[in-house]
Structures are given as structure tokens and as C-alpha cells.
Symmetry: C2
Subunit: 435 residues, 2 copies
Amino acid sequence: MSTPDTINLGIFGGGTVGGGIVEILTQKSSYFRQLTGKTIRVRKVCVRDASKPRDFTLPEGCSIVTSYDDILDDDDIDIAVEVMGGTTDAKDVVFTALSKGKSVVTANKALIAKDLPEIEKLLTTLDTDDTQFRYEAAVCGGIPIIRSMQSDFVGDDIKLMSGIINGCTNFMLTAMDRDKKSYDEALDQASKLGYAEADPTLDVGGFDARSKLKILMRLAYGMDVEEDEISCRGITELTKMDFEYAKMLGGTIKLLGVAEKNDDGHVSAFVSPCYVTNDDPLSSVNGATNAIEVVSKNLVSSIYIGQGAGRYPTANSCINDIVALAKGDKTKLPFNPKSDTKFANNYSSVFFLRLNYRDQVGITRQVGEICEKHDVSIHSILQNPVQKSQDSAFAIVTEKVEYAAILQVLADIEALSWCKGKPFYMPVLREDWQT
Amino acid sequence: MSTPDTINLGIFGGGTVGGGIVEILTQKSSYFRQLTGKTIRVRKVCVRDASKPRDFTLPEGCSIVTSYDDILDDDDIDIAVEVMGGTTDAKDVVFTALSKGKSVVTANKALIAKDLPEIEKLLTTLDTDDTQFRYEAAVCGGIPIIRSMQSDFVGDDIKLMSGIINGCTNFMLTAMDRDKKSYDEALDQASKLGYAEADPTLDVGGFDARSKLKILMRLAYGMDVEEDEISCRGITELTKMDFEYAKMLGGTIKLLGVAEKNDDGHVSAFVSPCYVTNDDPLSSVNGATNAIEVVSKNLVSSIYIGQGAGRYPTANSCINDIVALAKGDKTKLPFNPKSDTKFANNYSSVFFLRLNYRDQVGITRQVGEICEKHDVSIHSILQNPVQKSQDSAFAIVTEKVEYAAILQVLADIEALSWCKGKPFYMPVLREDWQT
Ligand SMILES: NC(=O)c1ccc[n+]([C@@H]2O[C@H](COP(=O)([O-])OP(=O)(O)OC[C@H]3O[C@@H](n4cnc5c(N)ncnc54)[C@H](OP(=O)(O)O)[C@@H]3O)[C@@H](O)[C@H]2O)c1
Ligand SMILES: NC(=O)c1ccc[n+]([C@@H]2O[C@H](COP(=O)([O-])OP(=O)(O)OC[C@H]3O[C@@H](n4cnc5c(N)ncnc54)[C@H](OP(=O)(O)O)[C@@H]3O)[C@@H](O)[C@H]2O)c1
């Protein structure tokens, strides 16, 4: 029974994350009692298949159930923890739990990316702040970026966020750059280690990163953007040569999600491979690790590096939410009031371009003319020293120019007879960047 | 007048940090009202010299005062913000404010390092949790490490903390390594930029870092260590040659504060220059920036990089505390209950040793014998290629050995006739480190 000294939990999902939550709650129960003044008890764990063996010990007084209503209709349950995944049943479960006055903790990125505005709308109609909604684990697993956005930046103005927010692709880029693996080998290894989504297109195409970026933009700027408005390029076009050029320039390549508030108040955003210099801490974030840099008015630059997924990092974030609720912590929602910040599908940056070509006279002149026509200044032209004649390529680093202009330059170049395949481009993040 | 809809502030100090706090509160007042449901008003700012011109605009209804009691005796003031510094008057002010039921927010590292246990004892006797005490800004300015320790690691077990927690020395090391400045030039520049304490010995001797490490150990392990029990070495013994060797080995040198829980449950700690490899994100933390890595059971590795000082980063942390209090956030104190964790003045590590010598036959043999005697295995011996005969030196990288054994090896070597000056040593942090 629920008493003032007890918080009763019902957990939807007894898999990777759910099992981790139960384990930590068991191990730390007396400490949590000391910290919150309450006993946190797991009463029910809802799964698909009750007969499946579990890799965690069920706490005393806790039962395995298979019907959502066993938790939803149980008035003794104060907090519903949704760690089963999906966006259909999970959505029903979350909405019903909240409507019935239960607080909800979830790790479900897909659900948050799709339905956060609707969930927040529901919360504002509830007319009580006893029913709370938390989703720390939904973005970047173990990195406490949600809480940080909600508490460390309240007095600050966020100018830019830029992050390595997909573990699978960062693992692959590390393997390709540092360990000289091919794309296929890298993807294969990432899948074997459980870093890839069931459909790896979500990772390598940049779409998973885009879902997280959208959530971060909601938190930082109070804006709801449609995901497909955000320009999204994954890592599939990268070649060995791009890594070689990056190395020549003193840096490496990372798949970043970037959102930036321009001086005119518009926010632009994209997911793209980016050139990162070696003296940027993001350049040393390797393997499946995630990282987010926030550039802001007061704090200047803050970087958080940590595990983006995995049983204990993700469960740890759920636990932080659960303990905060047990302590009586309340967040007024929507955290960042809906703002009239406009989304602009354009941004300025230094760009790296790589062009594959069939040898011919006048290439440099033609590229020069096209750049001039679109007002794109060239900072430097690089020729890869290690080069086979069948894949001749050169790279251009531009000055800071508009993304739209780069697209025009590339379209014009692609139409030329010597141009082989699609030219590749990526932003170079730092303005203070020097060859 | 204090009403349920208003939080009244009295600020002790109207200097760098105090002015920043007033500015942010003014700019964000309507947002904070929305977020907390309360109007946060600065009613009094206490300074030494009321006639001194201020670089911030006094909010309406706020007066400059010069007597502590103007704030302490004012029952309308809910929160006292102590940003005047020092440990005598500041201590009185904090204790009196708390005793009178005012919550306190402070940025005073010196006070926290000295008196946190006493303050927490006072708080437990108050028998109310309406009176809260916050000090986010006291450790690493803009990095929210205190709140992170108090909320992100509640379900976790911290194994190791290692941090660049003194901005002045990190600025100097960057200048010496990357910009090839001499020690004196680097210190001079750090002082001019306001990064050095009034007495720079506190920075370059490692003592400031040690004060912060002590506070972090209190938070991570619930233990109160006397500062001078923690082995403390600054950056004064470093030579150009050490940077050259570090570069040869593929890394750099950082002054780190490190605390580690050993397998037997003892915690060891030290402040020392450390060799850090280039693929460690801490190696790219340059200038006056701070960084803290926390290695823990659930989150594996979490790194926070940010500004350790400065008007707005520090004021931002005070603002986070003030807004949290306005929202009714409560922390049970002492956060981490006093534990019986024992302090051990010993630790194991790979070490880098640098020995300056007068040329003579048999040096390698003698060093080998001494290392063998004290059970120190040698991983590699390095000879600096760029070498003038008057400062011949070589470096040794050991296997993982006990700190105590290294001290014995160094004592024995120092006694030999060919040894010039004090041998230098530093820990090599990563176990997976390879030449
Ligand atoms: N794993 C990570 O590293 C990670 C990181 C961040 C976020 N997340 C998010 O956390 C959530 C859970 O991930 P997971 O890795 O723990 O998944 P998982 O290991 O596959 O576990 C899912 C659990 O939910 C149960 N379940 C699934 N569908 C159900 C249904 N329709 N009715 C009842 N029970 C159902 C399953 O029951 P059975 O055991 O009976 O099949 C299983 O116990 C997902 O939203 C995921 O995106 C995971
Ligand atoms: N600055 C940073 O980057 C930073 C970073 C982290 C922590 N902190 C901490 O924040 C605190 C304040 O630092 P700060 O840089 O703001 O110092 P500051 O610029 O020197 O300002 C100190 C203020 O306190 C007032 N004050 C000092 N002693 C006083 C006394 N006995 N009675 C009344 N007023 C007194 C001064 O009054 P007058 O103006 O009339 O002289 C001044 O307004 C210190 O504890 C410091 O360690 C600072």
C-alpha cells in the first residue's frame, strides 16, 4: 500500500534498462531512504512474456505482470516507469498514467521526439504539479543533459549546441579513422557490440541524431521543429580520403548535430559530418561515447562527455529522475515556454569540399569561377599526397560562407564533365580554425 | 516586504560576482517569475565602500548598505548571498544568516573548504529544511559539479575523480607547452589576465586545487580529510624537457587533482602534474578552462568541461542555486552521510621519472639496481633527442607501482654522485597507456 513514507513504482519493461533500474533500486534502497525520507518500492514489472527468464532478481513484494492495466489501474502506484520502447502502446501507457495522476519516468527517445509537445499539453491541463514527467534517459543515455538544460542554463542564453549524439556512428568513425577499418567492417562491429539500432539506417543516415537534436532544440529554444525540416546527412558518403585530408589539416571527422541561434534570433540546425580540429575536446571523444558542447552567454562553453547508452548509464538516468521525484522535486512544464523563435534552414560556416575528378586542364580555373559567381571565398586548396590516378581528388577549404551558396557551388561543379560522382562537403566548426 | 509571491535577496559583495548576479537577475526577472512562480528581488547589497562606483545598475527598491546587520536583521530577506570572500567575516555572516532562518548561497571556496562540516552540523541542528545552504559556485565556477554530485550520482558509486581544477596553472601549462613560453612569462600573463590568486603560490603550488579536491572528496565519499594530508605538488619543478618528453610519448602535462577509491575501500588522493595522453579529452582542455572526469560504476566515465571562474560563469552558478531555492528545491544535509571511508596516503600508478645527470659510466645499471631493490619495474627509458650537454637528462616510464616505492627510488637516486638536482616524477594516468 502507498503510504506517505513509501513511493510505489510500476515499471513497463523488464529488459536492458528496466533490469538495471531494479538492480540499482535494490542496491541503494537504504541510501535512498536516507536521502529522500521515503522507501522506494518496485511493486510491478510489466513485460510481454512472463515466463521468460530475467537477468535480475525481483525485489520482495514485486510481481511480474503482462497487462498494462495491472499497473495503470493500481491506485497504489505513484510512479510509472516506461522502459519498454515503441511509440504506440508506450504512448497510451504514458498518457493514461499521467491522466490517472501518476508521475512518469521514461527512457523513450522515439516517443519524446514524436510526442513531447502533446505530453506537455496534457500536463498543463492536469492542473496539479504533483503529476510530473521526466525523460532524462531519453537523450544521450547517461549524460544528464536534460536536467542540465533545465537547471544550469536557466539564467543563461544558449547560442549554440553541438554534439556527438549517436554512439553507433561515433564508434564507426573512430574505427575508420583510428583503426583504419572500412565502412562495412566498422558497421559490422558496431552491430555486433549492440551499438546499432535494429535498422542501422537510423544511425548511419543521421536520423537518430536528428531526433535527439530536435529534443535539445525544444529544451534550449522552446521551439518545436518538424524533424524533416532539419537538414540531415549521415556518414555514408565519407571516404578514406576525407579522413586523410582531415588528418593533414590537423583534425578529424565527427558526425555532429548542431543548432545555432543566429544574431537575428533565428535558429538554424543540421546533422552532418563535420571537420573538428585536434585541439577541440570533441575530437578525442572516441568509440560509442557521446558528447555535447553548449555555447552560451554566461557559461561561455560547457562540454559534457559520457556514455550515450548501455544498461547502467541509462538506468542511472532513470534513477536520477525517480529519486528527484521521491524528493518532491517539481518542474513547471513546459520547461521552456513555447517561443516564437523562427527556424532558418540556412547557416554560415567554413566548409570543406572534396571533389573527385578525371584529370583535365582548367579544373582549378573553373572551380574558381564557380566559387566567385556564388560569392564563396576560397581559403585553401589541398591535394592529397597519397593518391591513385583512378580516384584523383582535391579538397577546398572555404572562408565562412552561407550553406545555400555551397549547395549552388556544388550543383554547378557536379554538372561539369570532369566531376566524378557527387562532390562531398562538410562544415568546419571553429571560426578560429587555421590550416 | 516578503510575500508568498516574492523572494527577497540580500547580497554580501557587489564586486565581480555580486555585480554579475544582480545583472542576470534583472535581465531574467520575468522568465524566473514564470519558472518559479515568484518574483526574485534584490533588496540590499552590502559592500565595504558605499561611495565606490559600481559597474552594474542597482535594481529598483534595492539599496547599498555597509553593515552586515542591515541584511542579517532584516526579517524580510529570505536568502543571503555571500559573495564577498574571506573566511572570518564571511563565516560569521553565513552562520548568522542560517541561524536566523535565511537560506544561504555562497561562491566562497575558501570558506567551504575550511568550514563545510561545521556549516552542515549547524544545518542539522536547525530542525527545518526551509533553511537551505548552496555553494555551486565555490568549486570550479561555472561547472555544475556540486549539483551533479548531488543528483547525477545518487544511484552510482564513484571510483575516481580526476580534474583540471585550477585555471591559473592550466593556463600556464598551455602557454608553456603550446606557445613555448617560459614559466615566468606564463605566470606573468596569467596574473595580468586575472587568473592568479593574490598569492600565486596558492595556484602554482597546487594548494588551490587541493582545497577543491577536498570539497569534491566530501561530496563523493562523505569523508572529511585534512587538506595537508593530501599529497600536493604544483607546477614549479616542471622544465621544458618534461614537455618535450611528454610530446615524444604522445601526450602533454596537466596539473590534476585526483581522488580514487581503491579495491580495499580506502581513498587515496593527490594533486600533481600528470602525464595525459593526447587521446584523453582532458589533454585538449586548454587555457583557464577547468574539467573534471568522474569514473563510476554505472556511468563509467563522465567528463565536465567548462569555465572555472569569471564574472558570468560564477554568477550563473549562484543564479542556479537561487532559482532552485525559489522553486522550493530541498537538499537533505549532509548530502553524503559521513562515512567511515579511510584515507590512504598511497596509490598505485604508472610513473614518469626525469633524472638530470652529470655524464658517467654505469648510470643505467645503478638506476636499474635501485628500481629492482624497491620492486619498481621499468617500462621504458627515454633519452631526449634535443639535448645540451649541460642539462643531460633521461626519463623513465615505470610499470604500475606504488607511490611509496617511487619515493624510495627517488631518494636513493638523489643520493648518487651523478644525480643533478631533485629528480622529477609524475603519475601517468591511464593504465591502458602504451609508448
Ligand atoms: N538499452 C539502451 O542502451 C537504451 C538507451 C537509451 C534509451 N533506451 C530506451 O529504453 C527503452 C527500453 O530499451 P531496452 O534496451 O531496455 O529494451 P529491451 O531490452 O528490448 O526491453 C524491453 C522490455 O519491455 C518489454 N516490452 C516490450 N514491449 C512490450 C509490450 N508491448 N508489452 C509489455 N512489455 C513489453 C519487454 O518484455 P519481454 O522481456 O517479455 O520481451 C522487455 O522486458 C527504449 O525506449 C529504448 O529506446 C535504451
Ligand atoms: N571572481 C571569480 O571569478 C570567482 C570565481 C569563483 C568564486 N569566487 C568567489 O566569490 C567571492 C567574491 O569574489 P569576487 O571576485 O566577486 O570579489 P571582488 O570583486 O573583490 O568583490 C568583493 C565584494 O565584496 C565586498 N566586500 C569585501 N569584503 C567586505 C567586507 N568585509 N564587508 C563588506 N563588503 C565586503 C567588496 O566591497 P567593495 O566593492 O566596497 O570593496 C566587493 O563589493 C569570493 O569568495 C571568491 O573566492 C570568485
